[in-house]
């Protein structure tokens, strides 16, 4: 039976996502990442302006999504500014900016999907080892601007913003409450 999300502390979520983002960015992209802003829906603190729904995806974004299913269920969205996504793709694949442009959006989508897969995988492996076994879903990609994610009513949402050496990465975590 899935765990009651209320049992899972915000600290556990925060520590896991911070470790996962830092690890993936350091290992695969040779960039440091630092948690700089956060927001828990339904919590006592109001979201900082940059993390409010209406401000999350103002500019052109590439958003990677991977879910996890099992004792704990949820979805994580990673928001990359379009230029940052391109830069990450080039670094990951050893391609110049021009080569990435020539290769097209499909290559960027795949690279961001894989970065998201690794990040969510690392996050959920931490949960597994702490008694919440679950499996990953296949990554998918959203592209666009001025859109917002509307979580279902019986869920809890955590938004974390990371500074990755001048570029912003936002991790939007939605956990399903109860069964």
């Amino acid at each position: 039976m899935p765990a009651d999300t209320q049992e899972i502390s915000e600290t556990l979520i925060r520590d896991n996502i911070t470790r996962a983002v830092c690890d993936v960015f350091k290992t695969m992209l040779q960039r440091t990442a630092k948690l700089d802003q956060m927001c828990v829906s339904g919590g006592p603190d109001a979201c900082p302006p940059a993390l409010r729904d209406e401000n999350l995806a103002q500019k052109a974004q590439v958003v990677g999504t991977v879910g996890f299913l099992g004792e704990i269920n949820g979805l994580i969205y990673l928001y990359f500014d379009a230029n940052f996504a391109k830069d990450c793709t080039g670094h990951l694949l050893g391609m110049s900016a021009d080569e990435v442009t020539e290769a097209g959006d499909e290559v960027i989508n795949d690279a961001i999907g894989e970065i998201t897969n690794m990040t969510v995988g690392s996050f959920k492996n931490g949960l597994c080892d702490q008694g919440y076994p679950c499996k990953l879903t296949i990554p998918s990609i959203l592209r666009g601007s001025n859109f917002s994610i509307e979580p279902i009513s019986d869920s809890i949402r955590f938004i974390y913003s990371f500074d990755t050496q001048g570029e912003r990465l936002v991790a939007d975590i939605i956990l399903k409450v109860g069964e």
Binding site: T89, L93, V107, G113, M118, G121, K124, C128, K135, L136
Partner: protein, 386 residues
């Protein structure tokens, strides 16, 4: 034989990273985007290693692994998981089906190479047989020795070469260095404390990056037991102290399979120049003999039909040298290459004393030799034995 590595991952990105990771190794990378494609390709090409993701559409990695291990033809192919799925329970479950190793993404390319190298014999890709490394190419030589004076002696003795000599005082320092920048050759003092020279040798041989790196032992001549032990375990060669740096240089060149022809042959101002060194030992003559014909052929192919045989550095004339010079002149004649000799006064005088060489004529300088070709017919010496 090239190793075949099959990477099964729905992410094109991961497949590109795998290809990039192994690009400097002699292996062929095959790709499949899911378990169904992976099984078909495994049966068709019988890879030496499969890198397998877990979460994939159509057929996931666990199902593919299960089917692979239940197929008598395919079950022997080693599988390494390369996946973001890394919870303890999950890893244990997959390990029970049968995998050789497990890498959880994110991963460092070095770790992938190192782990794959434990399963298959990964050989670094050479630049190609046509372009052999030569004496003029830079190389890094790591000297592992706890006596700084010895490292300094080697640095001093080889300072005229383009090689960078790096010192490490301990086994640990040497391993750290090799993990960052694998050297082209390692010289290890066999007198390091607690037999750490032999432990280091084993580590170098088990690491994929240094598996084929030549490793020299360094020992005092009287330590015959240690010397034999080093030869038995497979050190490339053993250098004895006190070090003869000229001998060390030759052995390094041989171990690194360097083209040493530049010591004796070259094209200068449009002339093929064959230069005999000061001291022509049997080893030197053998080396010259190996290169002479191919180098002359290469020069003719490049359009050079004028040769200068420069023996002015030579200290003494002996039969070995005479035979070599006769051979060089004969080859020039056979190839229709005009040639002249350049020699010093002592050599000219010594030539008068041999039947084969008494008619040879020499120019005193390279400039004079080059200028002689401007005239109608260069003064090629006669060959008494021809």
């Amino acid at each position: 034989m090239r190793n075949k590595i099959l990477t099964v991952d729905d992410s094109k990105t991961v497949r590109i990273i795998v290809r990039k990771t192994f690009k400097s190794y002699d292996c062929e990378i095959l790709e499949a985007a899911n378990g169904v494609e992976g099984l078909a390709l495994a049966a068709k090409s019988m890879p030496d290693l499969i890198l397998l993701d877990v979460t994939m559409p159509v057929m996931d990695g666990v199902e593919m692994l299960t089917k692979l291990k239940s197929d008598p033809q395919l079950k022997g192919i080693p599988v390494m998981m390369l996946t973001a799925e890394g919870g303890r329970d999950h890893v244990l479950k997959i390990a029970k089906i049968g995998v050789r190793d497990y890498i959880v993404k994110p991963f460092e390319e070095d770790v992938l190479v190192e782990k794959a190298g434990r399963i298959i014999d990964l050989k670094p890709l050479v630049d190609g047989p046509a372009k052999a490394r030569s004496l003029t190419d830079p190389a890094t030589i790591l000297v592992v020795e706890d006596k700084p004076a010895i490292i300094q002696q080697i640095q001093e003795g080889l300072k005229h070469t383009p090689w960078k000599i790096v010192g490490a005082a301990t086994q640990g320092e040497a391993i750290d260095y090799c993990s960052k920048t694998p050297p082209d050759l390692v010289i290890v003092s066999l007198s390091l404390p607690e037999e750490s020279a032999f432990a280091l040798f084993r580590l170098l041989r088990t690491n994929v990056k240094t598996k084929y790196t030549p490793v020299f032992g360094l020992v005092v001549k009287t330590e015959t037991g240690t010397l034999q032990q080093a030869q038995t375990v497979g050190f490339t060669t053993v250098i004895t102290k006190p070090i003869d740096c000229s001998d060390l240089e030759s052995r390094i060149a041989k171990a690194m399979n360097l083209d040493t022809s530049t010591r004796y042959f070259g094209i200068e101002e449009g002339f093929f120049v064959f230069k005999m060194p000061e001291n022509c030992t049997q080893a030197v003559l053998a080396e010259i003999s190996t290169y002479l014909k191919p180098k002359l052929t290469e020069a003719v192919d490049a359009g050079h039909n004028r040769a200068i045989i420069n023996v002015s550095a030579l200290k003494t004339l002996h039969m070995g040298v005479i035979k070599q010079l006769v051979q060089a002149m004969q080859l020039c004649r056979d190839a229709s290459v005009n040639y002249v000799l350049v020699g010093n006064a002592q050599l000219v005088s010594e030539c008068k004393g041999f039947e084969e060489t008494r008619t040879w004529s020499f120019f005193e300088t390279m400039d004079e030799a080059r200028a002689s070709f401007g005239k109608a017919a260069p003064a090629a010496p006669a060959l008494a034995t021809a």
